[in-house]
Amino acid sequence: MNEERYILFGQYLDNELSAEEKTNFDKQLAEDPEFASAFEIFKELNQHLENKFGNANELKAFKKNLKSISKEHFKTKKPKVVAFKPWQYAIAASVAILVGLFVFQNINPSFEDYNNPEMATFIERGDVNENLKLAQDAFNAKNYKAAIPYFEAILKVNKSPEIQYFFAVSLLEDNQFQKAETNLSELKSGTSIYKNKATWYLALSKLKQEEYKSCKEILLTIPDDFEDYDQVQELLNELD
């Protein structure tokens, strides 16, 4: 094996040759096809190994994601192909045009369509926590702006996922997106029962800000055992 040649190849790729050595190298590349061919293979091998080992984790993540998207696609999409006769095409086309005329304002889905915050029920009988009561009443009366300071006060004393979730929803209703999203993201990366709900609201926050692409990306991370998964799917379909 021509050891020196390969060592030289390595040095060239790592930019370790002096200006003069480099000029000689380039000259040889131009003049000697066998040398150039060997170097080309050497270079491609380096690229190949770099991808094979350097991106191994990325490839693994990609395969996993691909598999789950593929599974989902082939599960739901059992495409039924109905063969139309020519005259049926004509009817279908005219119906499509008519429908198109009437529903032309088919626009993007809106936050309001999906915004159904649940009732807050923090207080049990005999409970005397003043702030909890005030927060609950304000929230259930959809007076979110008023509820926010109460939630803040409660969280200062006792931080629970439940309160944090209702706090974040209130912030979102009040259009305090950044703060809402910080709290939702925290819940999303946690393990409480509010994890999926928070992810859902995080997607709704993007929807409200008309960031459809990130909305969709977040929706796709919600597992299908989420209690309101039908809503997730509906929104995903609308976004397409």
């Binding site: 050891e3 293979i41 380096n46 190949h48 190994l49 991808n51 691909l66 998207i69």
Partner: protein, 194 residues
């Protein structure tokens, strides 16, 4: 080739390389049904179609990561042709002989054909490179694996308990060994690497 204009469908290639779920889903939605339909009508089924599609997507991921794959034709035609040819190859492999398949490329579409060929050559090369890598001795394999995973040669040297200079030299020699084998392989010549 380098000067050819990049097609707007490049977003699909970039999406694959970035593992962008929204893009991958839209590929499934827009382009996969046609592939499924074709495979079903050519002695395959949904499962086979699913496999072929995944293999092609992984191939595109690797090509995009390794060589900065630049699309110069519509993704639709490119993707369909890749899947179709992969499937036809598989049928050919599994059937003993004598299956006549209409395998003509649409000859009116040169940029697409060129792109498809490029990807197929990339695929063959990858397989050849992997095959040769398996032939290397354990020491070379380990050293290459480490130096392309860790990147810092100092760390690799420490891990293997050798000097920095040795790792540098050995790395070039191991890749050199691969280079030599590949040059000697006749199969490689048909790939027209340069």
């Amino acid at each position: 080739m380098a000067n050819a204009t990049i097609h707007p469908d490049q977003i699909y290639i970039d999406g694959l390389a970035n593992n962008d779920s929204a893009i991958i889903q839209s590929i499934y939605k827009k382009f996969v049904p046609k592939v499924v339909h074709y495979i079903r009508n050519n002695s395959g089924d949904d499962d086979k179609a699913q496999d072929v599609v995944q293999e092609i997507m992984i191939l595109l991921f690797n090509q995009a990561k390794t060589k900065k794959l630049q699309l110069t034709c519509p993704f639709d035609a490119y993707f369909f042709l890749l899947c179709k040819r992969k499937w036809l190859n598989e049928i050919k492999k599994s059937s003993n002989k004598g299956v006549t398949i209409d395998e003509d490329l649409p000859s009116n579409n040169e940029p697409t054909e060129e792109m498809v060929t490029e990807t197929e050559v990339f695929d063959e090369k990858q397989q050849l490179f992997d095959l040769m890598f398996q032939k290397l001795g354990d020491k070379c394999q380990e050293l290459l694996k480490l130096s392309f995973t860790i990147k810092s040669m100092e760390e690799v040297a420490e891990k293997l308990n050798v000097t920095y200079g040795y790792v540098r030299k050995k790395k070039s020699l191991c890749v050199g060994q691969l280079t030599q084998w590949i040059q000697e392989t006749n199969r490689f010549k048909s790939l027209k690497i340069i």
